[in-house]
């Protein structure tokens, strides 16, 4: 299939510097694709999709009838990240996670950053994710955000930005692993020659990260993955990760607090649990401490946790840093805790609780993206340039009613990657679609950035929303190894 008519347009294209000019690192891939006929390319795409369906790589859509699973659409043209670029991202992400972790430890203890006036205290206290019961909590090894899935985007000029931090329970890593499995059988020859870094080490690193939290000297600690159950949208992933790590997948009803410890119900009686990788939101984890109507959690868990008798990853209370207003202060955190300048910039953010910025936001709604501070998954969002006057009116009212809960950002022109779509006559064509990137960062003995990540792609042409719940798909992400070993070592 020929790229000759593929036009990157006025966007930053991840594979092409300009029309018919592939970026150097993408040349082998482009040549391989050009050697295949359009029909064959599409056939491989379909085969990959079927393989994913058979593997059961599915997600559930809320509001759909019970048990309806879907496969996230998968595109076989990967996104490539060069070694040099990756090492910059890696350093930026490590810096960011380190600062965020220090921030979390601080605000649940001395609150120095608030006392020093770097971040207004009322902003932190009014964040939905700020949990009073976590005051004074001492999580094992002082780590709060063990698993992070930071959302990155790239603007028209190629500049990377951090869009969201996702410090609670980011999902999607199972797609990274399964997409790769499928891609290896789709383009085996490229894997032999291009130096694509392997992603299979994730589960091993994740298990190490979790074991690091177990009480020392315990010969055989019990680690579990806690899931809300089979109707959760990411259930496949919970089950997959438990299987890959060889640990139990438990639901709240499998767990009980007895004798001051967290225990699971087994056919041979109760057995103690030492580490939980929880995929349940803070609010639901203990009906005694948080939402009383939660059936997903374990009554009394918080007490056991506070007593240090069980470790939870991610720690409870991390959601405070996912508040989009607090996100805006990450550059200040990095300077405050690390004395460094931010390596990986934030998207410029207007805070509606500040009168002047609010004024600007309201006057420029048609240019900006407005987001609710506490929503995720593409919900509660206004994309100014694509909105109607009525929608803007409605948002303006919502913002004025609760300015603390809204932020606005300039509409970024997300970078694109060629994607195999059907044209209006049903024939395969290559079209540029917007993407983001979610790398996964594990914080155990040290901070580890997994060399890969989930590339989400907006399959509706022109659309900027990449969330799977909003019709987005995914691509494999090829992080290339440095040609020269010294750079590779330098980046680690």
């Amino acid at each position: 299939m020929q790229f000759s008519s593929y036009n990157p347009g006025e966007f930053y294209d991840e594979l092409f510097a300009a029309q018919s000019q592939p970026r150097p690192e993408a040349i082998p891939l482009i040549q391989r694709i050009e050697a295949l006929s359009p029909g064959e390319l599409r056939q491989r795409q379909q085969a990959a999709q079927i393989a994913l369906f058979k593997l059961g790589v599915t997600f559930n859509v809320y509001g759909d009838s019970q048990g309806a699973e879907r496969v996230m659409p998968f595109d076989i043209i990967p996104r490539i990240v060069s070694a040099q670029e990756w090492s910059q991202l890696e350093r930026g992400l490590k810096q960011r996670i380190q600062a965020l972790n220090l921030f979390l430890a601080d605000i649940y203890h001395e609150q120095k950053i608030l006392k020093d006036g770097v971040i207004p205290a009322e902003i932190v206290f009014s964040a939905k994710g700020f949990l009073q019961p976590c005051q004074g909590l001492k999580p094992p090894a002082g780590i709060w955000c063990h698993i992070t899935g930071t959302d990155l985007v790239r603007d028209r000029d190629g500049q990377w930005y951090v869009l969201e931090d996702n410090l609670r329970c980011p999902s999607g890593v199972s797609y990274v692993l399964e997409n790769r499995r499928v891609m290896k059988s789709t383009f085996p020859a490229l894997f032999a020659t291009m130096g694509i870094r392997a992603v299979d080490g994730y589960s091993g690193h994740l298990l190490e990260t979790l074991l690091h939290l177990a009480p020392p000297n315990l010969p055989d600690p019990t680690v579990v993955v806690l899931t809300p159950g089979i109707y959760n949208s990411a259930y496949f992933e919970h089950s997959f990760l438990a299987q890959q790590m060889g640990v139990e997948l438990v639901e709240g009803r499998d767990l009980v607090v007895a004798d001051g410890y967290l225990q699971m119900r087994t056919t041979k009686g109760l057995q103690r649990v030492d580490v939980i990788y929880r995929r349940i939101d803070d609010d639901f984890i203990d009906p005694l401490a948080f939402r009383a109507d939660s059936l997903l959690g374990v009554p009394g868990l918080m007490e056991v946790y506070r007593a240090g008798r069980v470790a939870i990853a991610n720690a409870l209370g991390t959601g405070v840093a996912d508040d989009k207003v607090i996100y805006a202060y990450v550059p200040q955190m990095i300077r405050y805790y690390l004395g460094e300048d931010q390596l990986l910039p934030n998207v410029p953010t207007y805070l509606c609780w500040e009168a002047k910025q609010l004024e600007y936001v309201l006057a420029n709604l048609d240019q900006l993206v407005v987001k609710a501070a506490n929503e995720s998954g593409g919900y509660g969002m206004l994309i100014g340039p694509q909105s109607s006057a009525a929608q803007r009116q409605e948002f303006a009212q919502r913002i004025q009613a609760n300015p603390r809960n809204y932020i606005a950002q300039p509409t970024l022109c997300l970078s694109r990657v060629p994607t195999l779509l059907d044209n209006s006559e049903g024939l395969p064509q290559l079209a540029g679609c917007h993407v983001d990137l979610r790398p996964y960062i594990l914080y155990g003995k040290e901070i580890y950035v997994h060399p890969g990540g989930l590339t989400r792609v907006a399959l509706k042409q022109g659309s900027l929303v990449v969330n799977s719940s909003q019709g987005g798909g995914s691509k494999d992400t090829w992080v290339l190894a440095a040609a020269d070993l010294s750079t590779e070592l330098g980046s680690n």
Binding site: G56, G67, G229, I230, S239, E251, R253, D254, A258, T267
Partner: protein, 317 residues
């Protein structure tokens, strides 16, 4: 192993086996009708009677027509023991323990479910026979895949125990169909028509050929009962099922066979020995239907005890 996980593997197997057996006893009747002489009315009520779900059927359908009964037992998604519902439940259970069972097992139960769902949408009575054959085969495939791909560990034994307890119960019900099917008049007992009905019954338990092979070839009611209840080698006979279930139970608990330590081992062991020592005469004396009723009651008791002992664990406060 987690109680919930053991429970799911157990029910996964029970539901798959249940779907297979529902197919079997609808199939008996389809066979019977084809072989009945002209003028003998079709009897569909007996199938509902053996399920013990008569009130539910009457409320929802009323008429005991072929269409109604088949719809109820096969594709009614509101009837929890219909083939379709069994597969939904089997699949839900499998989905919740996917990381424990083998992926081949998951794939088999998933494609089994999709097959039944598709059939439910495009059903035509004329193709039902082929559909029931497919259901039986899919269930056998599942059992075979589980045998050959899952470690024979505690979870596997829970599954196997579930499958054999379900099969024992369903064999009692297949036998019971004959009790409810009326002959045109009492003097037809022992005639060709009677014999044809017994043959149909054996066939629905895949037992006809094996029955013929086991020495005494003639078909007599008492021999059929003996074969389906007491045979120690035929894999669908009740005694065989109980022996297998008991074996798995003792693998799970580690208690030596022939002894008991918990409240499941006792009723199951007692029932298995009862069948080991009961005579055909005693069964006839008690009445076949009453005897089968008694077995069903005991099997329910075993199921209840399994739930209490392994699955419904409450901490001591």
């Amino acid at each position: 192993m987690l109680s919930r996980v053991a429970d799911s593997i157990y029910w996964l197997n029970r539901y798959v086996e249940r779907a297979e057996n529902v197919a079997r006893f609808v199939d008996v009747n389809l066979n019977l009708i084809l072989d009945s002489p002209r003028g003998v009315a079709q009897q569909w009520k007996p199938l509902i009677l053996t399920t013990s779900d008569l009130p539910l059927f009457e409320k929802r359908y009323g008429q005991f027509s072929a269409e109604n009964v088949i719809q109820f037992l096969t594709f009614d998604s509101d009837y929890p023991s219909s083939i379709l519902s069994c597969l939904c439940s089997a699949r839900e259970n499998a989905r919740s323990v996917r990381e424990i069972i083998s992926s081949e097992m998951w794939e088999q139960v998933n494609s089994f479910y999709l097959m039944v769902k598709e059939a439910a949408q495009a059903q035509s009575l004329s193709e039902l026979s082929a559909f029931f054959a497919e259901v039986k085969m899919a269930s056998h495939l599942f059992a075979g895949v589980m045998e050959a791909t899952m470690t024979h560990n505690e979870g596997w034994h829970f599954g196997r125990m579930g499958r054999f307890l379900e099969r024992a119960d369903k064999t009692t019900r297949i036998l019971d169909v004959k009790y409810f099917i009326l002959l045109p008049s009492p003097k037809d007992v022992g005639t060709t028509l009677d014999e044809i009905q017994w043959i149909a019954l054996l066939k629905s338990a895949s037992a006809y050929e094996m029955y013929r092979k086991r020495g005494q070839h003639r078909i007599t009611p008492s021999e059929v009962v003996k074969f389906l209840v007491l045979d120690r080698e035929f894999p669908r006979s009740i005694q065989f099922c109980l022996m297998q279930a008991e074996q798995s139970l003792h693998q799970i608990t580690g208690t030596p066979t022939g002894t008991w330590r918990n409240s499941v081992e006792r009723p199951l062991g007692r029932l298995r020995s009862e069948l080991g020592y009961v005579t055909l005469e005693e069964i006839v004396q008690m009445g076949l239907h009453e005897f089968l009723d008694h077995l069903q009651g005991e099997l329910n008791e075993v199921g209840k005890k399994i739930f209490e002992t392994f699955f419904a664990l409450e901490p001591v406060c």
